[in-house]
Symmetry: D2
Subunit: 319 residues, 4 copies
């Protein structure tokens, strides 16, 4: 069950036109296909679509997509789901004949796929690039009321590898960053009411691109979409900018973390109240960042109930 | 009385060693001379020193230095001071035989000079550059309880030119940016208890250098020195980072504003409560930024009394 | 006769559509007006148009435009032309009621103006910016068979100020950089067959924008337009990229030189064969760069004859 | 036999002091240990040393180091060497108890290791970073007179994966890029007299860092060390700068290629004479780049003989 990397996210949005004005018009995502109320987009480096938007009555996250290494891995995942009694279903989508939807033991609506039709390479068609230069999907971050259990499951059952984590003084796990593809994360867990999506993130070429994204939003009089940043994370060392899309889904623009492919790469521990943890420069994090998230759908496209976390409160370094 | 540009600032600091650890050690200013409790520093583009630090019992600002176009301009300024009854005195300093100190009608301790010994050119000695790459002094910003009057004086008597200004709904002037050298400002006035220094600013090569300054401070565990930013100003369009030095003097790292040499360049009006005014990206400004400043000395090196402003309150967009 | 800065250039191009595909489509210049075979463009920082393209039977440069400080300066220039017997004529153009065309003693077709209708400010409309981010016209560079004489005239008659110059071992002047606006140049003279235009230059925000311009041209399969660079000049310390437009007119994208407003700013001497002079990194310059230029028109729009230079040869550091 | 990534290179240099002036003094490599004529260095992101310099009578490359996933992989490699009759030997080095030296069938002196003492994390100690900001070793590139055979071996025996390759019109392979860690390459083969090292490469944070490296060398009057670039590769899309160290070893500073972890990632074919292949911007490549390389040592530290390639000539796009 070899998971290669995060592959896509599927969002429900209330007004597709408005969402495209944001993702395509301002952020410069490349729209590859639109039919009816559905749109498929990608970054300039990607050969597969990675963002699916579907017009729907309310905002939600329908699938957290992961690319696996082969069709055999898909079959192994199906067997695993059956063995564990996890809800699952096969479906197909544009250019992807076989997608295994699977709800993990905590409720997260995963979607695994291997086969994907390749789109034409546009990385070096620089004259067509627009916006700050979105390159590729980098990671997903989810709220969890049971971070420690979720991390254990993803490490043991799906062989995700831990790179960084946040603990409080009593050794309780508040957040963890797990990867498969060799950088800081494909998937992160953040303590809080869940399961909910905290954010999804795209890779940009460099720090200046991150600043340009903020400039573009300001130019369009859309500063309300900027929730946090630009800044440099202590965790991951990446440059970041967090935006809220027109439905409140949070997207992070992200760049310049580090290589983690070594099997003996030592996980990095952060103390919950370290002021450099969230933003290396000591910036405080807005409370909304710890509280707001997007609801998930279950495999029958119904809103997934959430549970509160027993770890209450939030880090000291907030505003 | 042709003022060419802002030329230097002279600061009193309580512990020169500690100040040099900040300015030279972290920010990479080039130390050109140190003797006793006095140090002279410059940026990598400058041919004249621009920052003088003097160890003293309390933090203060002794002089706001401006370069004039000739010795004749100095003499004209002296005549002007005599005519207006403004306190003034001649002194000399390292490499500068004739400096005219002059207290303007509001109390600001100005210092004018023309002749200055040129230091060797180090702009292209890139292997010797350290820190984020401080290039040159760019401007001074002072608190004033009477912004409108001060602006009128500097425009009329000293031919400063207005580039941007902030007004409230009732047409009262809260801040103004004035230049001589052809970019947004050499001198700005900010409403508040004064006369006090709000900040002095140095030009950096580009936005990435500004980010690097923040990284360097974070690396050195000095995030407490970061008061505001990095960000992009609405006013001036410049990228900025505000730091507090070990004595609480505020220094701005600044880059990428615009050319203002046209005599018919139209001043830009900002509304006091425009959320994009302070930071184009909509960031709120910390209250300290509107409240804290450095005291000035009078021409006999005694602390200059301050007065409150009749324009009370602060912009809405603060934290 | 107070010249403020370089203001515009007027080019004859053979195919306006093709030229707009280059300037507007690839470089992102903002097209402000197009009527018949004429187009007016500007950079994102400018409040006045700075590039005029006119469809014509052959490529040429009709005017080197300079902004002066007032209508009185225009009148003084007119009187100067009459006194010296220099060909001159008044004309008007879009938003510019009074332009004084004037052929200097060497034949260069200058055009002076003060009054110019201001265009809306778009500097912070970042969501509308395209291409690498052209900001403003920075300078003009012309071939001259008599650099020393031309430099003397511009310094003495028009008060241009020298910032850098190139000499050979025998003290002969091969090139010189002269400014009015306070950076390295508004106008430069390069030894060679002339009068011809060597290039005109626009300011970009930073070095990364220069690289992005090269990427955009490569993306569009237009690498043949890249003549030289990206690189950093020894002279001026600026980052640069030289392009040839579809008619062979050379445009430089330029950023990050230095401030030169001090009246006692010392000119910098370069030795003709210093390998760091043209490109600080030691790159050789293509021969075309020393040989190719655009013809000028005289005041009756006829091609201006050229003369060879008595300084023959070219620097050693070419390919 | 799971190779994780390129891990280190071991160079023989004639004057260690002079080499450290280059690698540590100008490029800012972090010197971790020096004893006698041996020095160990790393980039700021690395937790293991990656560059070993040893003073020796002549310049050579002693080892191309690769990290494997476990001690078991080392044992499997040893068994493989025995089975194939490949010269091999175990040795230890600073903090690395078990290194398997192994000469592949073509003569390349490989060195595999798993266990490595971790050095303290300095990535976020930004105040200590010097030079352009070397982060981590990225890849090795070797000359081979039999590129097709070498590529087949590395793909089949060691499971390297092909990302890009250069073919001529007759379908002959001139160069290939192979990876294990998930970006464009850990190891590349270039047609030419071999086995020799073409270059080794380090990752930098962004394109501006690459430019800064060129500035630093120019500042130090070491432009002769710059062989090619800065530029953007067509192949790999990376920004690059090629330098020659004081012994003629070629080091590339490299950044911003792309993610290649998908098992179905399609290799990209380049035509040998495509002008955008070597440098996307169309720059010609100096002949030295196709001709000069560093000799290898065999397992007994004797110079390895080289063979000419039957593919003669070089791409058209050279100078």
């Amino acid at each position: 069950m070899n998971v290669v990397r995060v592959g896509f996210i599927e969002l429900w949005v209330r007004d597709l036109e408005r969402s495209l004005a944001f993702y395509q018009g301002l952020l410069g995502f490349r729209l590859e296909r639109r039919e009816g109320g559905v749109a498929y987009l990608r970054g300039y480096e990607e050969l597969e679509w990675s963002l699916k938007l579907k017009e729907a009555p309310f905002p939600a996250v329908r699938a957290l997509g992961f690319k696996v290494a082969s069709e055999e891995d898909l079959s192994a995942l199906k067997a695993f789901a059956e063995e564990r009694g996890l809800p699952h279903a096969l479906e197909s989508d544009w250019g992807r004949p076989r997608i295994l939807r699977l709800q993990d033991p905590f409720g997260y609506p995963l979607a695994f796929y291997f086969q994907a039709e390749k789109l034409p390479r546009v990385l070096q068609r620089y004259h067509e690039h627009r916006g700050p230069g979105i390159l590729r999907i980098d990671h997903l971050n989810v709220f969890s009321p049971e971070v420690a259990e979720a991390v254990r499951f993803y490490r043991e059952a799906l062989a995700f590898r831990l790179t960084e984590y946040t603990e409080d003084e009593e050794g309780r796990l508040w957040a963890a960053w797990l990867h498969r593809k060799g950088n800081v994360h494909d998937l992160a867990f953040t303590n809080g009411e869940g399961p909910r999506l905290h954010h999804f993130a795209y890779w940009l070429p460099d720090a200046l691109s991150i600043l340009r994204a903020a400039d573009i939003l300001a130019g369009a009089m859309e500063t309300d979409r900027i929730e946090r940043g630009p800044g440099r994370h202590g965790i991951s060392n990446a440059m970041f900018l967090y935006l809220k899309d027109p439905d409140g889904h949070r997207i992070e623009l992200y760049t310049s973390d580090y290589l983690t492919v070594d099997p003996d790469h030592p996980p990095l521990r952060w103390s919950l109240n370290d002021p450099r943890r969230q933003t290396l420069w000591g910036h405080r994090t807005p409370k909304s960042w710890f509280l707001e998230g997007s609801p998930f759908l279950d495999l029958e496209d119904r809103p997934l109930p959430t549970r509160a976390s027993s770890l209450e409160g939030m880090p000291q370094h907030v505003i």
